[in-house]
């Protein structure tokens, strides 16, 4: 009889075990996790991918981020080619390289629960195109933006379209970890690159016209020279690009019509310059050697400059400008004009503090509720059952969140708190119904208790639905965790709780 009755309790136990597996608490401290691998780096070509755990490099055991950086500094001395033996949890990689592997790493997370940006730190931007886009246009925009951020060296980016109630489409960009300083510039500027001679556009950014852009290679890209002027320091950079046949032919057709001028320095140049424009403002103007008149030249040297108050600042600025120009030359312009409507950069510092405080709120609230329940019923068993049920509800919510890869952000946590509130309410209804002095069986009483619980469940659930879409989905976490918690409560924890109460009533 007892066993037949308690399948609901078994369901709770199974749910708890599955949740524990989903959350997967990790107590081992070996290795560091690879968060991302730079596209096209040597190590990426070896097959290393994100998600692997580094165990050792060239025999140095790696158990923390500082182990990793000290090993790297010992292995790579003065840019010499070195044999690298990289052991991860999946494979062993052996290769030759002269620079440190281009990867970003983090400590191995303690659990599978993922925290949202507002708890873990990072940047979040909501970008609105100036014209209304169709779904496929939005996909193009996201692809180009993704490529641009990757080329620029920002890893760990998530870009997705979001729609709000009015049907506006936004692009939501989320960057985990430290915030790149120029994120605003990178995503809001269209990045329209044009090279013009006179009024004629000869080529534009993107792989249709530009087949190759030299970067990260000192033989064809870098800072050329620096000068000190009255206003500060000034550095010139240059890098080589290759044009497609068609673009080179077009340039030859334009240069053919130009005439030759002799310059004061002795060289001969064409009478018009090659002007480079980025988002309609001129960034550089280059003299064209007279030898190029009418020539189909695919190799072109692009140059520009950076300034700064000190020599270091000027070099940094020049590198920054060079990187910007290289990025738009590789990726081409974004297909639409964009406007950043929301930009949040969230420091990871606060997240630590938050998690600590939220755990404390949960614990103290639970104790306070326990006291209220105990004062009312004077029964230690039922009161602790109420608390245990609440606790298991939280564990199952976290388990489901981990299993479906849900990012727990601040609204989600507020949702969990909301669920616990209604959870306690429902359990008190069960407790009280079981204690009414009516002459009907406990089964009938539980039936009525569940009528109340299901009605409350339905009202709370439906009132959360609108929030799934409102405000471009930024508050979706709240609705999702609340509904998740309510469903878990109604179908798993509360029936089990009612069963447990029946058992204790019987024993009395």
């Amino acid at each position: 009889m007892k066993v037949k009755l308690s399948w609901k309790i078994w369901l709770l136990i199974i749910a708890l075990i599955l949740s524990a597996i989903a959350i997967h608490p990790n107590f081992s401290t070996e290795g560091v996790l690879i968060k991302s691998v730079d596209f096209n780096s040597t190590i990426a070509n070896q097959g290393l991918s994100s998600g692997e755990i580094i165990k050792s490099i060239n025999g140095y055991p790696i158990n923390s981020i500082s182990d990793y950086s000290s090993a790297i500094s010992k292995i790579f001395i003065n840019n010499q080619s070195t044999k690298i033996n990289f052991i991860t949890d999946k494979k062993e990689y052996i290769y030759l390289d002269n620079i440190a592997p281009q990867i970003s790493i983090s400590a191995i997370p303690r659990t599978n629960i993922k925290m949202g940006l507002d708890l873990e730190g990072g940047a979040r931007a909501l970008v609105a195109p100036e014209t209304k886009l169709t779904d496929s246009q939005m996909r193009d925009l996201i692809a180009v933006t993704n490529q641009r951020l990757n080329v620029y060296g920002i890893s760990d980016v998530q870009i997705k379209p979001v729609t709000d109630l009015e049907g506006n489409i936004f692009m939501l960009i989320q960057v985990a970890g430290a915030t790149p300083t120029d994120l605003r510039e990178l995503i809001s500027k269209q990045g329209k690159f044009e090279a013009k001679i006179g009024n004629e556009t000869v080529f534009v950014g993107g792989n249709k016209d530009v087949t190759f852009v030299c970067r990260d290679d000192a033989t064809c890209a870098g800072i050329e020279s620096c000068d000190t002027t009255s206003g500060g320091d000034f550095c010139r950079f240059s890098f080589v690009i290759y044009l497609s046949e068609a673009a080179a032919q077009h340039q030859a057709n334009v240069t053919k019509t130009l005439s030759i001028n002799a310059s004061s320095s002795g060289g001969t140049y064409l009478d018009k310059t090659l002007d480079l424009y980025l988002d309609d403002s001129q960034v550089s103007s280059l003299f064209i050697s007279s030898s190029l008149k009418g020539e189909v030249a695919t190799k072109i040297q692009i140059s520009g400059s950076g300034t700064g108050a000190t020599r270091d600042a000027a070099i940094k600025n020049a590198q920054y400008e060079m990187n910007k120009l290289q990025t738009v030359l590789i990726t081409g312009s974004l297909p639409y004009k964009l406007q950043i409507v929301k930009l949040d950069t969230l420091s990871p510092l606060l997240g630590q503090q938050f998690i600590k405080s939220i755990l404390m709120i949960g614990l103290i609230s639970l104790i306070a509720v326990g006291i209220v329940v105990f004062v009312r019923y004077r029964k230690i068993v039922s009161s602790s059952l109420v608390l245990l049920t609440c606790l298991s509800e939280v564990i199952i919510i976290l388990g489901v969140a981990a299993a479906i890869n849900w990012n727990l952000d601040l609204p989600s946590i507020a949702g969990i708190i909301a669920t616990i509130g209604t959870g306690i309410d429902a359990q008190l209804v069960v407790l009280d119904e079981s204690r009414t002095k009516e002459f009907i069986g406990i089964k009938e009483k539980m039936k009525r208790a569940f009528f109340i619980i299901f009605s409350s469940f339905a009202t709370s659930c439906v009132s959360m639905i609108p929030l799934m879409w409102a405000g471009a989905g930024l508050l979706k976490g709240f609705a999702v965790t609340t509904i998740m918690g309510l469903v878990i409560g109604v179908f798993i924890t509360r029936p089990a709780f009612a069963e447990l109460i029946k058992l204790t009533e019987k024993q009395e």
């Binding site: 730190g121 406007q339 420091s347 503090q353 708190i417 639905i465 609108p466």
Partner: protein, 384 residues
């Protein structure tokens, strides 16, 4: 003693309704006054008006001096302190203003004398168009959530089947009007509306009811083809009339939830709180919380077979007050702790605290009186 109390309650319970009525009128009056003077029913913070919030981890800054010297440069500024939860030490501050991100950051950097970066600070910026859009959508969501909740209450406590179908048609229409361009909702609402129309015809018994069905079906078709939010002006009063005419207990629950929200908003406005997106979420949460105890009360009074009405109300009262107190204490603890480190959470908790206290009042004064009145009246009508 017990009998005396019972007799006194029997005599005066209708008179007790004056209290919530007066409070509701004052609340509505105050909120509409605020609406006519400021153009809105609540004071909004930067997450709803648009603007910048900068959090700086620097415990040594004099917050009052900062606020004084920045107020000339930035629009509508407010500064709050952050402190560590275990030591109580100040660890930083949050500055919120309606000014643009760049201006705010530069002015703050000038005041502090150092650069702000992602390790010593966090910046949140929302454009004003986006924020006012958010605000509109959140308000509309709240209205829709309320309509959904009302339908569920009516489905649970209502008695006439064809009017339940009528209410379902109108609720589907309201969903479509609120989310005209969300495909999932449009499809779901359309399916629900069709099913509800079929059910309405099935349960209708006389000519009058068939005509009403026809009118509602045509109305639904028109609103699905031309989803203009102004159609709500027709849908909402019709729903209220259905609930009022066909199920007083449901209407009592809905009225209490409405009174909870309005009175909470009144208190929030009165203490000068600036409501954020999180605050509106708290109001949504309150809809769910407040009907819990009302459902408990109504079920106990209508579905229990033993005991007098007063005894059933008292029994429900014991359970309900324990429920509300447990929730209240949990959110109060949350508020006291969160006040030190998170504006978002502390606002949610504070609004819930206010709402839960008002809910105790509304459930056990407003709803209890209404349901008793209804049961006594029905008993009187039955014996006649």
């Amino acid at each position: 003693m017990k009998e005396k109390l019972n007799a006194a309650y029997d005599k005066h319970y209708r008179l007790m309704l004056i209290l919530p009525a007066i409070l509701l009128v004052i609340s509505l009056f105050y909120i509409s006054h605020l609406y006519f003077t400021t153009g809105d029913i609540m004071r909004k913070d930067v997450s709803l008006t648009g603007g910048t919030t900068i959090t700086v981890y620097d415990g040594k800054v004099d917050v009052e001096d900062l606020e004084k010297s920045m107020s000339s440069k930035l629009v509508d500024i407010s500064v709050t302190k952050l402190s560590d939860i275990s030591t109580g030490n100040t660890i930083g501050f949050v500055l919120a203003t309606q000014s643009e991100e760049n201006l705010t950051q530069i002015s703050l950097e000038n005041y502090l004398g150092y650069k702000l970066n992602s390790t010593n600070s966090g910046v949140e910026f929302s454009g004003s168009t986006l924020s006012s859009g958010f605000y509109q959508q959140l308000l509309q969501s709240m209205i829709l959530a309320f309509i959904f909740m009302s339908l569920v209450v009516y489905l649970v406590f209502g008695t006439s089947k064809h009017t339940k179908a009528f209410a379902a048609i109108l609720t589907a229409v309201a969903a479509k009007l609120t989310f005209p361009s969300v495909a999932v909702i449009s499809v779901t609402a359309a399916i629900c509306a069709i099913c509800a129309v079929v059910a309405a015809f099935y349960y209708s018994k006389n000519k009058k009811e068939y005509i009403l069905c026809g009118i509602l079906a045509i109305f639904a078709i028109i609103t699905f083809i031309f989803p203009n939010y102004y159609f709500m002006i027709l849908a909402l009063p019709t729903l209220i009339i259905i609930y009022l005419v066909y199920s007083i207990p449901s209407m009592a629950v809905i009225t209490c939830a409405f009174a909870d929200i309005v009175m909470t908003l009144f208190v929030v406005d009165l203490i000068g709180m600036k409501v954020s997106t999180a605050g509106i979420v708290a109001f949504l949460m309150l809809i769910g919380y407040s009907v819990d105890t009302d459902i408990l009360l109504t079920t106990r009074v209508l579905k229990m077979t033993s005991g007098t009405v007063n005894a059933r109300i008292l029994g429900a009262f014991k359970t309900g007050v324990t429920m509300s107190l447990a929730s209240f204490i949990a959110v109060l603890v949350g508020y006291i702790i969160a006040r030190n480190f998170s504006d978002v959470l502390s606002q949610i908790f504070l609004i819930l605290c206010i709402g839960l206290l008002l809910d105790i009042f509304n459930t056990w004064v407003t709803n209890a009186s209404l349901i008793k009145w209804y049961v006594e009246h029905k008993k009187g009508a039955d014996t006649k």
